[in-house]
Symmetry: C2
Subunit: 414 residues, 2 copies
């Protein structure tokens, strides 16, 4: 916390001390999201890329000076971050580029980028003196919270709507979370979780209103920059749901630029599913957010009422970037294309960025010679049904070599 100056409201600029359970501006309420501010001068005088290079901290904790946690607070033992980065020509060419840089966040402990935020949440809960931590979600945020809490010996209370898929619920139960299946809509679920958090004073792991979680998410981009030896690409591409992940990317770029670790900021390309794109609309029209329906198979980014939209729009705008929408069919096509060209299995929300890249290249927004990095945010094993829809059916044969001859000929396998 040495380098944290405080929290500041993005609406009225009021300052707050960085209390671990300070979530929103007390004047502006839900319009008053808070930003964590760092003392960049002090940081720059005490920390450098060379010092970072000699760090032996596991995973994303190597960026501790840029994280709003007390170094003395126990951290969850799971290795979060340290995910691989690949340069891929074959996939790049399919999208109209010379190559593409892929960061596979599906190799985090619970198989998504959200582990970066949940690990911070668990530390802040401890700092707040809280042994119970709660959120409402059906997806990656829930499983990552359940995993980080289990690893730390904390209790997690997770509210899911009754329509939540059985498999995701099972993952939460395996991690020992107390899972409440709410007989009602997602709104009912959110309301019950908010009332319960308030009533029993649990720690609130809601990435949209908890200012510390975005700081965890930003480590994906800090890591990408370090893996590229601080030579940033022209574009960083991310899918956008509640807006926290791309806002975190924007914060990482701000940090790196302020500290002179990088000499220029890449542009951010934010990609939403066409069936649920309220942030793209707010960005295009320079208008307030309008809540919309959630009609996409990319469930992790189908957020009709994204509470972090302002920070997301700001991050895209500050980078000179754009927002773009893609159809579900394109997302399914990209699941298949990514798998075939890279051996990476991404979930729908994880691969939508690739469809956005192809559109942006076709529209002349991204130039073929530009360097483009995409973050695959979650593992496809989390959504096998979509994979089946994307990938088609196998050959079905009698166990006779004659039957194989036809397949071999058709597929050119001889």
């Amino acid at each position: 916390m040495h380098y944290v100056k405080g929290l500041v409201c993005i609406s009225c600029q009021k300052n707050y001390a960085p209390e671990p359970d300070r979530y929103l501006c007390s004047s502006c309420g839900e319009n008053g999201l808070l930003d964590v501010e760092y003392d960049y001068s002090l940081l720059q005088s005490e920390w450098s890329p060379e010092q970072l290079q000699s760090s032996t901290a596991p995973g994303h904790w190597r960026y501790l000076p840029l994280l709003p946690v007390d170094p003395a607070t126990p951290r969850p033992p799971l290795r979060v971050g340290g995910t691989p980065l690949y340069h891929n020509r074959a996939l790049g060419e399919e999208l109209g580029l010379q190559e593409i840089i892929i960061k596979d966040e599906g190799l985090n402990p619970t198989a998504s980028l959200k582990d970066r935020a949940s690990s911070l949440a668990v530390v802040k809960a401890r700092e707040a003196g809280n042994n119970t931590i709660s959120c409402s979600s059906t997806g990656n945020a829930a499983s990552s919270l359940a995993g980080s809490a289990a690893a730390s010996g904390l209790k997690a209370v997770i509210f899911v709507p009754e329509r939540a898929p059985g498999g995701k619920v099972a993952q939460l139960m395996i991690f020992g979370a107390r899972v409440i299946s709410v007989q009602g809509s997602y709104s009912d679920t959110y309301e019950l979780s908010a009332a319960s958090i308030d009533r029993w004073h649990w720690y609130n792991r809601n990435a949209a209103i908890n200012p510390y979680l975005m700081e965890g998410k930003k480590t994906a981009v800090l890591e990408l920059a370090e893996q590229l030896n601080w030579q940033m690409p022209d574009w960083i591409v991310l899918t956008v749901g509640d807006g926290c992940t791309i806002a975190g990317a924007g914060k990482a770029l701000q940090d790196l630029r302020e500290l002179d670790f990088i000499t220029r900021k890449p542009r951010l390309l934010g990609v939403q599913a066409a069936g649920c794109a309220p942030i793209t609309r707010a960005w295009q029209q320079e208008a307030e957010l309008q809540v919309c329906a959630e009609d996409s198979l990319a469930d992790s980014i189908a957020v009709g009422n994204p509470r972090n939209w302002k920070k997301a729009v700001r991050a895209v705008r500050d980078s000179g970037g754009i927002m773009i929408n893609v159809e579900d069919e394109e997302i399914l096509e990209m699941m298949k294309l990514l798998g075939r060209k890279s051996g990476i299995f991404g979930e729908p929300a994880g691969v939508a960025g690739l469809a956005g890249i192809r559109r942006a290249v076709k529209a002349g927004i991204i130039q073929p010679r530009e360097k483009v990095a995409v973050i695959i945010t979650g593992n496809g094993l989390k959504d096998i049904d979509s994979a089946r829809q994307a990938a088609g059916e196998p050959y079905s044969l009698a166990p006779e070599i004659e039957a194989m001859e036809e397949v071999v000929c058709k597929e050119g396998l001889d």
Copy 2:
């Protein structure tokens, strides 16, 4: 290949040149599995733990001097290995130990230890001048082969029995494998794959008969040893299906001891599912293998006719270790216990080792103060149905705070 002396038959000791497509002894046939032999003296004079420490090769390729591949052959770009190791007291205590050391192999690119073998297979296929590689399997071997082949631009032909779960087939299809669903039993499937590999001269990725694949698997234990700074535990615990993984562990221990990287070998504890334990039986009775039924939910280790049983029994015996069986109920219990105490989600075959440890401690075979390392071989996201069976059901509530009060009280969350 600099350090590879050749291949030797485990039955008649006949020697062979290390041709990439040499699978079995030509005299002994399927009884003549081959071992890769290294020139340990030469290796020891040219390689040391200090040199290893300065390696910047990704993942398990840091052990290249101990791998039977030509350093000049292009390697698949996926980062295989480099999986995390955790020391866990809470889980250790549940099993009757002071702590337990856990290696999470579910964080490999396609979510299992099998990636270590498939990455080798892809390299050997290239060395054999072969662009198509094939196996029959419904599980982790198939998906890892499909992923490694996709990343390398090779073709994979995978034979599955028609009962193969749709989700696993979808994963193969996403990676662009040519998947043949065979209308018949697993035996029919195996026979059609063998006939096809023979007929069309594809590269054979069958861990049981291909001597190079075990060399890939051994890197899990090489890595564990390095992560423990060469201070080996008293026991290394692995689940056993076709026998290749534990045989690979035995080979790693042999390598490390011959090279003086470690001063003593740990004992191997091999764990099979009680419903399919032909290797335990062969070990106990010092007899030939008897093929048995495959009656366990731990599908990845339910192998009734394990073709690598001799190397497995040899590895356990050479280490002074033992084989033990566990029931399916214990496996499900361990999925839950591991998740709750560590935040790691293991598949049934991945966690069966924990049940074996508990039995061995209770039987006085493992002492409470001994150091025990267990390898969690695959990610639980691959088998959500078993997770649901293990973890039970969530609370189902109306969206009213009064309903929550009862849960909070019962769970002690206030």
